[in-house]
Symmetry: C2
Subunit: 305 residues, 2 copies
DNA sequence: CATATCCATAGAAAACTCCTATATGTAAAA
DNA sequence: TTTTACATATAGGAGTTTTCTATGGATATG
């Protein structure tokens, strides 16, 4: 069943005649005549009773007209929704975040964004960097902010926001009065570490390597699979740890944990905003990207110096 | 938004690629490429992300695909319903009947028809002949069985079924023993009549006129607007009446009323099956028409002799 | 009975659809 | 990295379809 002809038929019924319908559709009457006849041939059913003055649908015609109305209403609605999606009035935004940015950075950005774009549903998935990247590739996510570095030309990667890893000890630790320690001294105390492969641990190891120090396995009290658990371990007095400042900002301020300066200077790390290069961003995602960059770009620029 | 292109887009998403969709649609891949591109231009929105290996919809594309699925499902359903309507498997039949045929003939026919075509909803409207004819003209009814004669080439009129008007008197009436009376004798007893213009009255007046008799207004006890009321009047002993045999068959059999033979022979009248000539009958109506004619045609043939 | 109005038909012009051939790009294999 | 396989994009032309103009036929109205 040809949709164009169905549309002609629909208008003919709606206007109660070929000539009137032709006017509405900006076509000529013979065109509509032919279209309806072809539709009737196609369906093998007479759809209209042609009376002299006007035209009325047969029972088959009434049935079909009901369907046609629903079909063209759907089309109209689809166009309207596409338009409002194109102008960014509504839509869905699927975000991903690795642990630190997903916990301490994105929630605030999402809140601000949602306030400005109440019609856009935002979903934020927290997961390991590798999972996030995979979901981006399969388009289960559109945009993500992660901690690990990505070297894949399939993704557009924009450095964005930064974080400092700090050495923390319990507030009553022997070092808690010392303002600064050398990197090698980390081997002199029980140390809690994140798991091998985590971004935090990579940054720490890179710093130690540049100083010619390697971690003494004897000192590792625990390998912990999460920043919160790591923090709890230090709070419990198990030892020292290197952790994102964002994760312990509260505890440091309240004096529950003490912070030490590393001799080699602050341990900086970057976060990265990324999305699949070939997937066109939705208007919503484009807007969120702008928001993230306007907030997080300046912080990175200072790191580059 | 062109429906043909929407259909192409729908299949491309459904099959996950242009080439596969082209195979399914019996078209070539460049055709689909062009169609989707034109659809995207038309809507001003990118609908598909063309990755190297395969193709996936953008968020706009997913939205549109949902609508497309519903639209084409509706079309499919419409075709299915039209087909079952064309083969007469289901549908609606709007019948009309004037008093006598609508009360004493059509109900039985409708019952038989419904038993054979359980899927077809039948509605039967009883009304005066003029109302029925008007409803046929406006297509509120498809087919009707009436008593009055119609002279309008807009209708196909088929004589069908017949009825006899009989003279009835109360069972204890002075005439109730007499087997036959002359027409002019009707003026010698109180007479109940149907209203002027009713088909029954026209038939009676025509017979009297052919005998050179006219009704004596003095004798008319009542002009009654309905056969049932007329019958009750005679049963109550108000006088004699001329009425359809069908309306009093039970009373005659039970001896509650007595029947007289007119000297001029039985007063026959015909019924007519009719429908608007220009309106194509539905399959259901066509079948009902056949049923009516097979039952009612023979009875009429005998009248023509 | 003439007139106005509406639908059907015929044939030609315009538009579009679809195809073939080819280019380009991507992902997996050598 | 280069090759191979596979997928989409592009260009131009053949074929079909759509649409138009002109005209004829049927019906209701004055």
């Amino acid at each position: 069943m040809d949709m164009r002809r169905l549309e002609v038929f629909y208008h003919v019924v709606e206007e109660g005649g070929f000539t009137r319908a032709a006017t509405v559709m900006n076509l000529t009457q013979p065109t509509l005549s032919a279209a309806v006849r072809q539709l009737e041939d196609d369906l093998g059913t007479q759809l209209l009773n042609r009376l002299g003055r006007e035209v009325s649908p047969t029972s088959a015609g009434r049935l079909l007209h009901g369907y046609a109305r629903r079909i063209f209403a759907l089309r109209k609605k689809a166009i309207a929704e596409l338009t409002s999606l194109r102008t960014g009035d509504q839509g869905e935004l699927l975000l991903g975040g690795s642990t630190i940015p997903g916990t301490y950075i994105l929630p605030r950005l999402v809140a601000d964004f949602s306030r400005q774009h109440a019609q856009i549903r935002v979903s934020l998935q927290l997961a390991a960097t590798a999972t996030i990247v995979n979901d981006l590739r399969q388009q289960r996510l559109e945009l993500a902010l992660i901690g690990g570095e990505i070297n894949d030309r399939a993704f557009e990667v924009i450095p964005c926001f930064s974080d400092e890893l700090v050495v923390i000890v319990p507030f009553d630790h022997q070092w808690s009065t010392g303002a600064s320690i050398a990197e090698q001294e980390l081997n002199n105390v029980p140390l809690l570490l994140r798991e091998r492969g985590s971004a935090s641990r990579k940054v720490l190891e890179a710093r130690l390597e540049s100083r010619g120090v390697s971690l003494d396995p004897e000192n590792m009290v625990a390998e912990v699979g999460g920043n919160e658990a790591l923090k709890q371990g230090v709070l419990a007095g198990l030892g020292a740890a290197v952790i994102s400042r964002m994760a312990v900002a509260g505890e440091l301020q309240r004096g529950e944990l003490a912070e030490l300066q590393l001799a080699g200077g602050p341990l900086q790390r970057r976060f990265y905003l990324l999305h699949a290069r070939r997937v066109k961003l939705s208007v919503a995602a484009e807007r969120f990207k702008s928001l993230v960059l306007s907030r997080g770009r300046t912080a990175v620029d200072s790191l580059d110096k």
